[in-house]
Symmetry: C2
Subunit: 490 residues, 2 copies
């Protein structure tokens, strides 16, 4: 009946793919590295979009849309940016196919483009070209735009949701009159991302700054949120970049400030992507399949009617339908699965695998006794509830589950965050326990890359909280200003 899910402790990577397949979230596509997001996965993305979009709008942002194609020459204008993206971009060179007698369908040589177009890997270049036309004076600032879009980065080793050649994301691009205001924007967005991760996804995150080597190509500072997966690896869940005046200079975007002087515009950019779905799966799910936090679950409650005889069917479905109306009226996303082609056992399994937070079962005896069986997906706990108390019970239960998932993930992260003061201990913890390792760092790229080479662990971030503490980097023996977060990462 059910497709088998490989247990996490046997093969974590295979478990991840099995959960995605069983829960019908995504599928591989005939184009290597591109994924097909199936309805269950896309509904999850829609809920994530709605949550984030609301927060962007509350903080004064508007949506817009910029072209998918970027002229090749644009990419070259910001030196670090081209360095970062040139090696992984889809290049459009022709605008027509033709039938060739010998080779079949080929790009029509006469349609070769004068300038190649790049499928956007990110949109800073085309947006800053545009901003340079839109911005003349301080009155035109700030510009606070976001776009929901697809982007393409030619990754060689791909993995559903976590790293795909094409992915869906939002990218914010803002323009400001002062450095201070731009930095503040970067941090506002980092707050939005943290809040979304913790309150919607129930995923606790560490907020911090990337080291120079892990920075976005073209940024002055990259802020990030990092989350810990169940296999002890870290995943970068969102980034917010302070771009300084780098792109304004590359695209000659100046404005007249209040003192009538020409000045380059200050910039930020920030994004989260369908990668968040990968994080969601890896933080909460178990060997039975997907586990979803109620706030994001497309279906929060699945009701499964149980009956044998026709007269049972009528009375059970009548009550089911009443319960459905009541829950819907309370704003709960409920689905009554009254399909006769599938048996209750099959349905129980289906909603377990798909991570529906609450399952209700309603049989003839429940109709008689005015009760419902309520089962939690996260703990497996079952209780019998009076129908008259059901809506209030479910409302509370959904909140309990949401909070429970967060608490569990936080406890897991805390138990797997280790402070170490020697390089030997560092290596032992990484190999035996995994998770975040907090160790003093001397601030040099040399030490960072030595550790990366020797242990495959990277500095996930210099944390914004609990950082200032003088110490000694145990690897170099040099002084350090605080402990950073190291981990092996996705």
């Amino acid at each position: 009946m059910a497709e088998k899910i490989t247990p996490r402790d046997k093969d974590y990577s295979q478990w991840y793919l099995d959960v995605i397949k069983s829960a019908k979230l995504a599928d591989h596509s005939p184009v290597r590295g591109c994924m097909i997001i199936r309805p269950n996965g896309y509904a999850l993305w829609e809920n994530m979009q709605a949550g984030l979009d609301g927060m962007f709008k509350e903080t004064g942002h508007q949506n817009a849309y910029f072209p998918i194609f970027i002229p090749q020459s644009f990419l070259a204008k910001e030196a670090e940016h081209v360095e970062g993206f040139a090696k992984e971009c889809a290049v459009v060179t022709h605008s027509r196919l033709m039938l060739d007698d010998e080779h079949g369908l080929i790009p029509d040589p006469d349609s070769k483009l004068e300038e190649n177009l790049i499928v956007r890997p990110t949109s800073e270049t085309i947006i800053w070209h545009t901003y340079s036309r839109w911005i003349q004076s301080w009155r035109d600032l700030p510009i606070l735009l976001n776009q929901w879009a697809n982007v393409v980065r030619w990754e060689m080793r791909t993995r559903l949701f976590l790293r795909t050649m094409e992915f869906l994301w939002q990218e914010g691009h803002t323009a400001h009159a002062t450095e201070e205001e731009a930095v503040e924007e970067t941090l506002t967005i980092l707050d939005v991302y943290s809040k979304f991760a913790e309150e919607y996804m129930a995923v606790p995150v560490i907020r911090g700054i990337k080291t120079a080597s892990e920075r976005f190509a073209g940024a002055v500072d990259t802020y990030c949120i990092e989350a810990l997966m169940q296999d002890g690896k870290s995943l970068q869940a969102g980034t917010s970049h302070f771009l300084g005046q780098n792109f304004a200079k590359a695209f000659d975007c100046q404005f007249q400030n209040k003192n009538n002087e020409l000045e380059y515009v200050w910039a930020t950019s920030w994004g989260v992507s369908t990668r968040l779905i990968g994080a969601l799966i890896m933080v909460h799910s178990d060997d039975k399949g997907l586990v979803l936090p109620p706030k994001l679950a497309p279906t929060q409650v699945a009701l499964i009617p149980i009956y044998r005889k026709d007269e049972e069917r009528v009375s059970v479905l009548e009550v089911a339908s009443r319960i459905e109306s009541e829950l819907k009226a309370a704003g709960i996303r409920v689905f009554v699965d009254d399909r006769d082609a599938f048996r209750p056992g099959w349905k129980f399994n289906e909603y377990e695998v798909q991570g529906v937070p609450v399952r209700l079962a309603l049989g003839p005896r429940d109709v008689e006794g005015a009760t419902v069986e309520v089962a939690r997906r996260d703990t497996g706990e079952k209780t019998t509830v009076n129908q008259s108390d059901l809506t209030a019970h479910i409302q509370e239960l959904l909140e309990t589950i949401q909070q429970g998932l967060f608490d569990k993930a936080l406890a897991e992260r805390e138990s797997r965050t280790t402070e170490v003061d020697s390089y030997d201990e560092f290596k032992t913890v990484l190999d035996e326990k995994g998770g975040f390792v907090r160790m003093h760092w001397d601030g040099t790229a040399e030490t960072e890359s030595q550790i990366k080479e020797e242990t495959k662990a990277t500095i996930r971030c210099i944390p914004l909280e609990d950082y200032d503490e003088d110490g000694i980097d145990p690897v170099s023996g040099k002084p350090s200003k605080g402990r950073v977060y190291y981990a092996r990462a996705y």
Copy 2:
């Protein structure tokens, strides 16, 4: 202060572009033929998406996402399809750029793809490839999917919203066990499109079937909705295709039916795009700028506070804020423009140009008398309303405006729909009056193409209503089964 809008009767094309520019809906981009959708335009698109998406979901559809790239060989599998799209597609041939000493940035020859990828012009091929893996039995049917996506068609003559190289759209792709069910789906969607056009956009549409020459490449039948623009030209606003078994055969998608026989799956596809924004502009707007139907307007009510002295400012803004809360609580999208950097006159003009349906002005005398000045964008009419009656008044007014715009557009279309029985009359009407011309057609491609060549008018559709009436095609003299809709078109 205001940018000048060319009057419609002077230069309709320029008027259209001026309205888009003044209302800040879209902008040209550095990539020829691609547009930048600005926040005002994108907010409109978001409202259109919300309306349509709700209707798709009510009719049982789910959203999903398929890759942007299509292997070149896929395009070739359906003969008519490749014929229709090969000449206008963006071809990706390389996956990397490199720095060449002589030529600067060039596609890395070592990254040449084994098989070229096409940026999707539409997704039938990749979706039917996928469906052939998903569908085995009648139990797997129907599949009712939609995706919101960007597509690329390499158009040579482009125009903001109406015809752009990249555009945003939704494309539905459904799979069915029987021909009857697929045809029914095609018509369900045609109903959704008509309802959306008429009830949300306030744009009356003719529902019909395309002739063979105007059919979608690969369809058995293309159903469409056609709308009349103010310059007397028709615009195809949405299409719903019955694809028969063409794509199932091309991608070998068979299923076991209830009699245990293998059968090819029946298909439909359907789409509307950002082109609808072009239609919306061209049906309702006037020489002063954009006119928006309240149901889709991002801002339905703009309130402009008026004051000179500081104490006036305080009392006016206090009342403004109370009105804002009341209107918001009633679900009305209101914006209080309390920016001191702009003067009331500038604001009045701004919201007129941007098509905000209702403008409120609130000054010190209004505060004293507990009144508000209410101005309609569509008719220019101004009234003074008591603050206590305001919310109810506005609710009713928004409905009146919505209906008024539809009625006006319908009257315009009816006055410009002419029945003719001779080819001379046909030509005279086309040249002098424009609009739809209803004339008998003998059903042959010869007559259709002769008329197109001689008059540039095409058969917009064979209407679903008021069609059956025997007659004579005045051009060929042959018998006809009914009058079709001719028009010059976008």
